[in-house]
Symmetry: C2
Subunit: 304 residues, 2 copies
C-alpha cells in the first residue's frame, strides 16, 4: 500500500470505526431480551475489516467537497450491507465457511438462526441510517437509498451471490464463451455493484455532476471486477495467514473462477487490463484523482 | 368475515396481486443466469397470502384520501417484507417448517441457499420500491422508508423473531411476570410493529395529521398483539386444513405462547380486551373507521 493511500486509510478508518460502534447500541428493552442478536451484529461489524466500501464513499465525496465527516452515515450504510452479506455468505447453506478474517464466522459463534437474523437486521439498519441520519436534502437521500437498493438487491449483490451458488459444479459441458459471460455477470453483480454504489453514493452526496458520476460508475465497475479477479488469484496462490481463510476453498467446491476458467496467466492479464481501464476513467480528474488511483493500485496488488 | 370487509378485500386484492406480479420480472441478463432466484422470489410472493398488510395500508390511506391505487407501491413494499420474513422464519435453522399456507415452504422447493437469498432480495426490493415507485414528495418517501426500517429491523420484526428463537425452551425457572413481559415484547415486535407500520404508511402517504397518526399507531399495536394472541389460540385449537401448517407445532418446540403461559381461557380474555382497546382508538373516526373496525373484528375471529 503506498503512502498516500495509507494516510487516507489511517485518517478515515478510526472515524468510520467509531461511527459504526456508536450506531449499534440497542434500546434497554431490546438488550434485556435479545442481546445475542445485538452481540451477533456487533461481532461482525467490529471484526477487523478493511472498511474498503466506506473509504470509497469518502474518497468519491472528496472529489467534490471537503467536509468528509458528512459522508460517515452513508459510508457506514455500505459497510453494514457488506457485513450482512458476509454473514449470510458464510452460512452452512451457502459457502459454509468456518473462518473469516482469521476469526470464527458469525454462525460458528452465535448459531445459524442468530446469524441469519443479524444479517437481516444489518441490511435493514443500513436503510434506516440513510433515511434518518444523513445530513442532506430529502431528494438526495431518496437517490442514495435507490442506489443502495439497486446495487445490493436482486440485480446487484444478492443476484451475484445467487449466480455464484447456482454455477457451482455446473461448468462441465458448457462452452467457454457462456462461462465467461456468466463469470463476468456474477462478479459485476456480486462485488462490482456494491463497490460502484459506494463510490456513487459519495458523488451523489457531494453533488457531483453527471459527467463525473458516469466516470466514477465506470471506474467502479472496472475496479470491482479487478477486485474479484484478484480475489480468485489470491485464493489460488495466497497464503492462509494473509487471507485468514482456507486456501483453495474455491477449488475444493469446484467453483467457477477466473483462474479455473482462464488459468492463472490469463487471469493476471485480465487484472492488468481492468486496472488500466479504471485508471483511464479517472485520468481527467488529475491530482484530485490521486486517492482513487492509489486505491486502484492497491486492489490489484493488495495483500488483503 | 363480514360483508364490508369482504368487499374491501375483493376490491383491493386483485390490484395488489397484479401490482406484485408485474414487479418481479427480472432483466434478461438476470433471468439467464439466476432464474431460480427469481422463481424463489415469485413462489412465495405469489402464494395465497391474505395480503393483510397491503390492505391495512390501503384502509389507512382511505381515511384521508380516495385515490387508493396511489398506495399500491407502499402496500406492496410491506407485503414483500412480510414475505421475506416468512421465508427466513421457515428455514431449518429457524422454525424448520415444511408447510406454509398448505404448500411446501420456500427452502423445501428451492433449497436453503436460494431461500435465504430470495428473502434478502425481497427485503432490498421493498426499499427500492419505496425509493423509486411511490408518487409522493421526497420528504414523504423518506418518512415511509424510515418507518419501514424501524418496524422491520432490530427494534421491530427481526428483533421480535430473535426473542422468539432465544426464548424457546427457556421458560423453566422464570417467574410469570418476566415471561409475560418477554412475551408481550416479542409479539409487539414480531407482528405488531409491521402491522402498525403498514397502517402508518397509509396515513403518512395520505398526509394524515398527528392526532390521527397517534390513534392509528395505538390501534395497530392493539390489533397486532391481538393478531398474535389469536395465532397462539389457533395453533392450539385450530384445524390443520384451515391453518395449512402443522397443528401444535408451537407446543412441540416448547415455545412460549400466550396459551402456554396463561392458559386458553385467559388468552381468550386478553384477545377480547385487546380488541376492545383497538376499537376505542378508532371510535372518534365514526363511519370512516368502519373498514378498520371490520378488520379488527376479523383478526379476532379469523379463520386464516
Amino acid at each position: 500500500m503506498n503512502q498516500h493511500l495509507k494516510e487516507c486509510f489511517d485518517s478515515c478508518r478510526p472515524q468510520v470505526d467509531a461511527y459504526l460502534k456508536q450506531l449499534l447500541f440497542a434500546d434497554a428493552a431490546g438488550r434485556r431480551f435479545a442481546w445475542p442478536l445485538d452481540e451477533a451484529m456487533h461481532y461482525s461489524v467490529d471484526a477487523a475489516g478493511k472498511r474498503l466500501r466506506p473509504l470509497l464513499t469518502i474518497m468519491a465525496y472528496r472529489l467534490c467537497a471537503q467536509d468528509w465527516q458528512r459522508a460517515l452515515p452513508v459510508a457506514a450504510a455500505y459497510e453494514l450491507v457488506h457485513t450482512y452479506s458476509l454473514i449470510h455468505d458464510d452460512l452452512p447453506a451457502m459457502d459454509d465457511d468456518d473462518l473469516r478474517r482469521g476469526e470464527p464466522t458469525n454462525h460458528k459463534v452465535f448459531g445459524d438462526a442468530m446469524a441469519i437474523l443479524a444479517g437481516d437486521a444489518l441490511l435493514t439498519e443500513a436503510f434506516r441510517l440513510l433515511a434518518e441520519e444523513v445530513d442532506a436534502s430529502s431528494a438526495v437521500v431518496v437517490k442514495l437509498i435507490a442506489t443502495l437498493a439497486q446495487v445490493a438487491g436482486r440485480d446487484g449483490m444478492v443476484g451475484g451471490q445467487a449466480i455464484d451458488i447456482l454455477s457451482q459444479g455446473q461448468a462441465d459441458g458448457r462452452d467457454r464463451e457462456f462461462l465467461s459471460e456468466l463469470l463476468e455477470t456474477l462478479h459485476k453483480r456480486k462485488t462490482g455493484a456494491m463497490i460502484t454504489g459506494a463510490l456513487l453514493a459519495g458523488v451523489d452526496l457531494a453533488g457531483g455532476d453527471s459527467d463525473l458520476r458516469l466516470r466514477i460508475e465506470k471506474f467502479g465497475m472496472f475496479i470491482g471486477l479487478a477486485f474479484q479477479v484478484a480475489d480468485d488469484i489470491l485464493d489460488e496462490v495466497g497464503d492462509q495467514d494473509i487471507l485468514g481463510k482456507d486456501i483453495g476453498s474455491d477449488r475444493e467446491l469446484d467453483k467457477l473462477t477466473f483462474v479455473s476458467l482462464f488459468g492463472l496467466d490469463e487471469a493476471r492479464r485480465k487484472l492488468f487490463n481492468l486496472h488500466r481501464e479504471a485508471l483511464l476513467q479517472i485520468e481527467p480528474l488529475g491530482a484530485k484523482g490521486a486517492e482513487l488511483k492509489a486505491l486502484a493500485d492497491y486492489i490489484v496488488e493488495r495483500d488483503r
